[in-house]
Each structure stands twice: as C-alpha cells, then as structure tokens.
Symmetry: C2
DNA sequence: CGTTACGTTGAAAGGGTTCAATCCCTGTGG
DNA sequence: CCACAGGGATTGAACCCTTTCAACGTAACG
C-alpha cells in the first residue's frame, strides 16, 4: 500500500455506505469498475453550492459526509426546500430529463461528495445489468420521496409533520449504522420549517412542547429522542413491529 | 387498407399524441419499432383500476384517451391523490424501483391505454439511443411533477391552489391541441379537493366565487375560463409572455 | 321514481400565521 | 479577551383562513 489517500479519497470498496448508496447489489468486481469512474474532490464548505438551478448536468453526486439542502424559489421569491441529503444519498436526479439542474444544492455543513459522470455511468451500465436497475432504484427513491413529502403536507398537522421529520431522520441515521435515538443534525430549524410548510415560530413552539413532554429534545445541533414510542404516537403510527425502512 | 382497426388500435405513427407521449424525438423508423411492442386493449370503464398498489410491475402505460387518477391511502385510511393523467401521459413510473406498483390507478372516465412492456422497452432502447433519453424524460417529468405538487401545497392558499389547478389543466389541454379556455374535465371536485389538500366544501366555495367573479365556471364536467388574465392574477403569475409549458 | 353519492351553503371553532419584542449563540474586530 | 453585531430561535397576543359539522339541494343511476 504505497499511496496514502486522504479521507475524501476512500474507494467505493472501502466505503461504509455501500448498502445505502449506489453499489447495492453489485459484486466486488463491478464495484471496482464503478470506483474507477468516480471523481472525488475536496469537501465543500458550509454554504457552498454543489450546483445551482440552470447549471448544465454532467454527473450524479453521492454524498459521503455532511448534509445537502435541495431547494428553489417560487415565482414571488419564497424559498421551497425539497429535501435534505445525507451520506449515501444520491443527488442530481432533477436534471436527468432536461440535462440542466432545476434546483439549488447547498452544503449545510462541511460536505464530501463523490461525482459520478453520467455518460461514463451509462456506458458502464451497458455492461453491468444490475447497475441500470440500481440507477432506476435511485430515481425511484426520488419519486417516492416527493410523494411522501406531498402526503406529509396534505394530511398532517404541524405536530405530526415535525414528529415525522424527526422520526424519518432517526430512521435514516439508524439505517446508516448510527444510533437512531441520538444524533447530530446540522439543519437550521428555519430550513426544516420551510421544508414542512410551516413557519419557524410554529416549529419552535412544537419543539418546546416536545421537550417539555420529554419526547424529543433538539437543541443546538444535537437531537435526543427520549421516547420513541410517544414520538410514533404523535405521528399516528402503529408500532407493533419495530422495523420499517423509510428513507428520506 | 384491408384491416379496419377500431379506434383503440391506432398505431403510434397515426396517433395525435406523439408530441406529448413517448415517441418525441424518435424518427419514423424508430416509432415503427416502438409501435410493434405496444400492446393495445379495449378501453377501461369508469371506476376500473389499471393497476393497484402491490401489483407486480410489467409495463409502463401511455394514456390515449380518458383520465386516470393515481392515488393511495395514509396509514389511517385517508385518501391521497397524487395526480391526474391525461392523454399522452405515461403512468407506472412509481414501480420502476421496486418492480411493484406503489399506488392505485383508476379510470375516472372511459379510458384507453397503450401498454409498453418494460422488458421489451429496455431491449429496444439498447438500439435506439434517443429512446433511453426519452424514458429519462418521462421519469424526470414525474419527479418534477411531484415537486411542483409539494410547492403548491406549501406556499399557496386555497384560492391559489384551485386557480393553479385549473390553469395547469388548461395548459395541458392547450398543449394537446385543444382549446385552453374551454374543455371537458371528468374529475370530481371531491378528487380535486383531495389532490389540493383541501376539503370539498372549500373547493366548492372557491369555485362559486370564481364563477361570481366571472373568472372561471366549472359546472358539471365543463370548464370555461372567462378571464385567463385574472386567473393568472389569482395565482400570482407575471403574464408578460403568454407561453410556458407546464405539464401535469 | 327513488336511492345514493356528490355538491352547496351557513355558522362556529380552531390551528397556524402574523407581527413584534426579546433572547441567545456565533463569529468578528478592537 | 471582551464587546458588539447579526442571524436564528423563542415567546406572546391578535387575527384570519380553512375546517368542521350540519342541513339541504341536485344530478346520475338503477
């Protein structure tokens, strides 16, 4: 092992996110081939854009560390937050049709990203059948995510939205091998409010209530879920069986 | 011309929806090849399901005539309407990842559908480069549609939602070569309400107001837009330039 | 011609927003 | 090292839009 790679040069093979990210269901050899087309760059600093609406599309991006906010603006300049992308998530699907990014992607914290040049990915998928299905999976996740977001906005009151958001984040962390009841979340309450279609004031009041009720505490950037059971009760979940992988 | 084909046997080549549907950007010969894999069946009667959540996925569907409602239910049994599919629209994207339909698709009126077996479509797309991009376009449209739905739900009040819905329907009809200011819409107000995250009562009141203000009349299944300008004003649109293709 | 589901209209209640003041954390510069 | 600035978070009170509940009207279907 003669080359010492810095942390942002971890290969797919050695990446802990394989189960969440792209290579799911690929064999060792194919992961190697995927690895060869991946372009890794120094981390993005907080507040920097990975891409912006109007940028031409060249590649999909897989998050290795950090958080990315995908957002846009309405005609009258109000911000819309479409989602938050965690390590293992794939970003850039919005540009697949028009070959131009439709939304803005901003790092909310120091964020490392793997770049997957789309042309090379396509060439590769001609030889790796599982890969094209994998691409469909990633896209499909994006579609379902949008639908779940709509569902949240239509049929849930403010309490339920906030509870569902925290619960989803918990599941996503758990799915990545972290503790589901205690994690760091570098997302402003303000951004969560916009994502949930609420005002920052409302979110603040609800978090205060959850804290007082000893359900969840979210102070600074640390989330503690004190009572998962009651959190699920707020959402209206039936919690017979513990498992259920909801992602983004 | 020795074989007389009934109306639901129109070939892609002779279909008026080419610009809206799949074959966009394919040459004459490729359309022919696509045509050969398309499976056409007798129309679905009102209330019949094209597919239901849990059905295994075999094919994408292109609407030739009629309307399809895509919907599901929340954990506590409330209906969620994800969208309405008009002639030229492609349905079934929700199943691309899991190979199983996630939602229910019901005909709201007598509806003709072209079935595009997915395996055959994939084989074909290996030889027709434009076709795979075309598939991406269709998927991408689905993603963007979901995001636009969310945007509607987050940042618009009831008046604006109803106005936007009618305006979008108008654009979609216009895009298909029909009059944009006067069209038939076989969608229950109740379903629109669910789609917009409102109650039927609210939608009813708003439509009454739009009628009284001589902006839009929607009685029975006929929509008349009396004043497109004021409709756009309700939405908050800037209407310098008339064009802008918003689809679904 | 009756039944059923959809649509309409009214009045009251409630959940979330709005507006405004204050607090608090972080980062910056003296 | 401390003071200050600025953006985000918090808290309170009034308001308003949408929902809810209930009653009635009406269109479609057998």
């Amino acid at each position: 092992m003669k080359e010492v790679k810095s942390s942002f040069h971890v290969s797919c093979k050695n990446c802990g996110l394989q189960k969440v990210c792209f290579p799911t269901g690929l064999n060792r050899e194919d992961v190697e081939r995927l690895d060869n087309i991946v372009d890794r760059r120094p981390p993005l600093k907080k507040g920097v854009h990975l891409f912006q609406a109007g940028d031409s599309f060249n590649a999909l991006f897989a998050i290795r560390a950090g958080v990315i906010k995908l957002y846009s603006f309405t005609d009258n300049g109000e911000e819309i937050v479409h989602g938050f992308y965690l390590p293992g998530d794939v970003l850039g699907i919005d540009a697949l049709g028009s070959r131009m990014h439709q939304y803005n992607a901003m790092a909310l914290d120091t964020t490392s990203v793997c770049t997957l040049p789309f042309e090379k990915l396509n060439e590769l998928s001609e030889n790796i059948p599982n890969l094209s299905q994998q691409i469909l999976n990633v896209i499909s996740k994006e579609v379902l995510d949008g639908r779940m977001h709509s569902e949240l906005l239509i049929r849930r009151n403010a309490d339920q939205r906030v509870a569902q958001f925290i619960y989803n984040m918990s599941e996503r962390h758990r799915h990545r091998g972290y503790a589901g009841s205690e994690f760091r979340l570098s997302i402003l309450h303000r951004d969560v409010a916009v994502y949930l279609g609420l005002t920052p004031e409302t979110v603040s009041r609800i978090l205060a209530k959850f804290h007082a009720d000893e359900i969840v505490t979210w102070k600074k950037k640390e989330v503690f879920i004190h009572n998962m059971h009651r959190l699920q009760d707020v959402i209206g979940m039936h919690h017979e069986c513990e498992k259920q992988t909801i992602d983004r």
